[in-house]
Symmetry: C2
Subunit: 98 residues, 2 copies
DNA sequence: AAAACATATTGACATTTATCCAAATATCCT
DNA sequence: AGGATATTTGGATAAATGTCAATATGTTTT
């Protein structure tokens, strides 16, 4: 099967910024979070339910993803919603992951 | 500009294997190596020249890339040639990197 | 408005893992 | 044997990971 390219907008990251993005994706929990976010924004507590780690651990991983530019956060009410910040992540993941 | 998708063959990695690939790509030196390999196979000494690290450091990074399934190695003569093992890496990198 | 609750982040800490170089070792060719 | 190429080992330093406790922030209740 071929890469299902969706022609999502290309991002031009510097070499080091791209390495930082890959590094952020290179942890099972963070990759899990990103895959959940592929379906749309989620609050921290929803992302927490999808894992088996402490809430503070999820918060740290979200901070790592945010610092790498993979996600952005927005507070609404008492929840904080995270969403993907790199459009072509869906293409990237679709190319590699089952 | 859009993602220049090349419809390279899709790979179906498990979640953990994909995280390992991203982790391997998530280091500036290793990403540099991978980008050199996009142009074709290279021996260790050629890859070494393209960096500013000790040869033993490059060898370690190559081992990490190999263990993650990103590259394969083949000995020919007194050189060992490395090449990319994941076809759609070019698509993935093109989507993200300048 | 104060108290209580729900949601999320931060700090402190222990443990593990990564990174790098230098020296030693291995392998192949001449 | 000697030279060229590459890996492995040892050890020092830095970074990542996870949890608990403490703190912050927004919402609801009284």
């Amino acid at each position: 099967m071929d890469c299902n390219c969706q022609n999502t907008e290309k991002i031009s990251l510097s070499h080091d910024a791209a390495a930082a993005v890959f590094k952020a994706l290179g942890h099972p929990v963070r990759l899990h979070i990103v895959r959940m976010l592929l379906e749309g924004e989620r609050c921290v507590c929803e992302l927490h339910k999808g894992t088996e780690r402490d809430l503070s651990t999820i918060s740290s991983h979200l901070n790592i993803l945010k610092n790498a530019g993979v996600v952005t956060a927005e507070q609404r009410g008492k929840n904080i919603y995270y969403r993907l910040a790199i459009p072509c992540l869906s293409t990237v993941l679709n190319c590699l992951v089952d």
